[in-house]
Symmetry: C2
Subunit: 448 residues, 2 copies
């Protein structure tokens, strides 16, 4: 195999492309980078000797298939909803397919066919999902191999702003898809705690956070992700009494974000009438009663259950949501308006550094002793382009691509990276690049 096709050259693909071009030079492979925006693809390829940038309209079937036919391995960095077309082509032309996106039920259905054709269809091999699976499975397998029984697994990830670039009262900036941040947690979060299933509806999620201690970093707020239950099977922890996956935020974030949720500003299901003509302050006014002599600030404080001069109100005011400034977005939902406002306020400035924190906590019993293992990774970015986020999404994918190109992967069908033949070499190469999980393993005091 000597030809690699990367579809999509956006911000998410930067680290993947530069890693792949370097590997291509070392191994004499060819890397085709295809994007709808030819210029963008050209910039990402630069003058790399083994790279080639092509223009690709993914909906142009003939053009897409002509490109695919020539490749040995395909990496799709397209938005998740566009993977399926590529996946069906990959089955047809018998090409391996790698993505960082969640494996959809539709994708999962291709597993048998991919398996029969000896194809590697690997999904969820970015950061979260991706690096979380790999680093967790490494510990799970280690503890099991030594005869340990894991009775609680909690895993937390946060895409945050680094302390040195943290200069706003929310202690947060957008380091990835802003829309996903606005809509985070909608639906009902499900997890299992001491053998009991737990459900947290969205309207209670951000008041239901826990404080967790991140080794070497201090305390962070953590709220539950929607999807913990489905990983019991993938992690071979089907009978585990406690399994929780959560998102990390700096202290004070959740209470303040909850104010937006309570008011109704994270709703994406209906457009605000005349959103193009009204101001942010008028929008807020549409969520309070017209009755009474209270100021808008007092009415909002009442709705969110805070004092007017509280820290939460201070954070809200800082965003400009109380200002008489025009929204200027036509036919926009509350969520779209909130995203539009925060895009300015939570912008990562050119020299700002982001920071990824990932920590796993395993409670286990070995030889009659209760112990806790924590595995923690903290990585900061260099600036707003070379972010920790883009490295941690792109590098696992790049390293895995290299393994596939070298014929070192034997697992076929549709999978996520939970097997040793995947996580061992990927984690090892990341460690050589300085991306390391620090482990701590302590005797656990009995709970009172």
């Amino acid at each position: 195999m000597d030809k690699l096709l990367i579809i999509g050259a956006g911000r998410a693909a930067s680290s993947l492309i530069s890693y792949s071009l370097k590997a291509a030079e070392e191994n004499d492979w060819e890397v085709i980078v295809a994007d709808y925006d030819h210029q963008l693809a050209k910039e990402k390829v630069g003058d790399a000797p083994n790279g080639k940038a092509v223009q690709l309209d993914i909906t142009d079937i003939d053009q897409r298939r002509a490109l695919l036919k020539e490749a040995d391995v395909v990496a799709s960095m397209l938005p998740a909803n566009l993977h399926m077309e590529v996946a069906r082509d990959c089955i047809h032309f018998e090409k391996h397919l790698i993505t960082a996106s969640y494996v959809s039920p539709e994708m999962q259905k291709l597993s048998e066919e991919a398996h029969e054709k000896n194809l590697i269809f690997m999904g969820e091999i970015g950061l979260d999902p991706g690096l979380d699976h790999m680093s967790a499975m490494k510990v799970i397998h280690e503890i099991r191999a030594k005869g340990g029984y894991i009775d609680a697994f909690r895993s937390y990830t946060g895409g945050l702003v680094a302390p040195e670039s943290d200069d706003n009262p929310w202690h947060y900036k957008f380091t990835w898809n802003p829309r996903n941040v606005i809509l985070a947690g909608q639906g009902t979060s499900q997890y299992i705690e001491r053998g009991k299933l737990k459900y947290i509806p969205y309207h209670r999620l951000f008041s239901h956070y826990d404080m967790v201690d991140i080794k070497g970093m201090g305390e962070y707020e953590m709220y539950a992700n929607r999807d913990s239950l489905m990983y019991r099977k993938a992690y071979e922890l089907e009978d585990i009494p406690t399994l929780l996956r959560g998102t990390l935020r700096h202290k004070g974030f959740c209470d303040a974000w909850n104010a937006f949720v309570k008011i109704g500003l994270t709703d994406d299901s209906y457009p605000i009438v005349h959103s193009g003509q009204i101001t942010y302050r008028q929008l807020l006014g549409a969520y309070v009663s017209e009755n009474g002599d209270l100021s808008l600030e007092e009415k909002i404080a009442n709705i969110i259950g805070e004092e007017v001069d509280s820290e939460v109100m201070r954070k809200m005011k800082w965003t400009g949501i109380f200002n008489n400034e025009k929204i200027g977005l036509k036919n926009a939902t509350p969520a779209q308006i909130l995203e539009h406002l925060l895009l300015q306020k939570w912008k990562l400035e050119p020299d700002d550094k982001d920071m990824i924190i990932m920590q796993h906590e395993f409670n286990y019993e070995m030889s009659g002793e209760k112990r806790q293992r924590t595995s923690t990774m903290v990585l900061k970015g260099e600036n707003s382009v070379n972010t920790a986020m883009s490295r941690l999404v792109g590098l696992p994918l790049g390293i895995f691509l290299k393994l596939v190109m070298k014929g070192k992967i034997a697992t076929h069908g549709v999978n996520i990276p939970v097997m040793k033949e995947v996580y061992d070499p990927v984690l090892q190469e990341l460690e050589e690049m300085g991306i390391r999980f620090e482990e701590e393993d302590v005797h656990l005091e009995e709970e009172k």
Copy 2:
């Protein structure tokens, strides 16, 4: 015209069928009652000389069309999602179509074609929607005709249990589709107040109710319906500063219902794991934290912001939701489980009477004077079969059918009953049956 087809013979159609059979006898028409359940259709037709019961599988196109072809006017009492098939057939075979359901955007699109073929496609001609439109438009047109300017219109409807049959702490029983009661208000309620658009998200709706005074009945709680804004156009009130449509409940209902909303029990979007094997108490336990020494009752009271011995908690306990009784419903959503529980508790017993309240409030200015007109209808049912609800849904439809059969309706295309040629004769005949709106018109004190 002498042949009427009524599709659907369920509880909703009882009054319509008996009214139509009587009218058929007087006018020498034929009434075909078609239902999937032949026996049900037969029971509803009884030994009426001009009636005929037939079995109809609505998905059997040939059978459906054969029946339709023979009729002059079709009344569809099918679930709303099945109307469209019938509507397209009615266009094709040039038959008039009458329903009590909301006019969907899809149905609205047929208007031009119906108009061209001189067909009457009348929707929303039951109770709510239906009688509300007619009784409101009558007043709106009257005030306008006298030169009045309406600056506020509030309209409330409640399907309740009559005081003499009110024997539970919720002061509520199911008198119509229970599922709709469980899901009521989901989404975001929108209305306009003093010229300002207002949005109330579902998670705040039931704590945001107002108290309204129903003439002769006392105070009721009222929460906003989802859809007030869309009626500005239909009611010819496009620039009205205040327009609100709301639902009435007995005092104490909203706070208690809000407890279920806060916990998350009205959610219909995901199934509870093992819902067939767990108890109601275990279900509640899945919505509280495992931490702490508090009882389940104390934890739930904390979540809903009430004291353990509060009235709201008393109402909740009365439903049996804290009991260790098996749910026994497989793969059920929280909303389905709550409906299952309340079906027993909020059952209308054979001799129970229901009660419909409808009240419109118009604030208007005439000759420099501010006035308020209220128009109020209260109707009680006889028992759990002959309910006020079934009469008030079926009679407007039946009376309108008669008008169409007699060729007295000139309005073609897809419409809702806002025109004088419809509401005048319908309201008049209802009044002859004792279903009367009492009006009050008073000078309004200036607001301080």
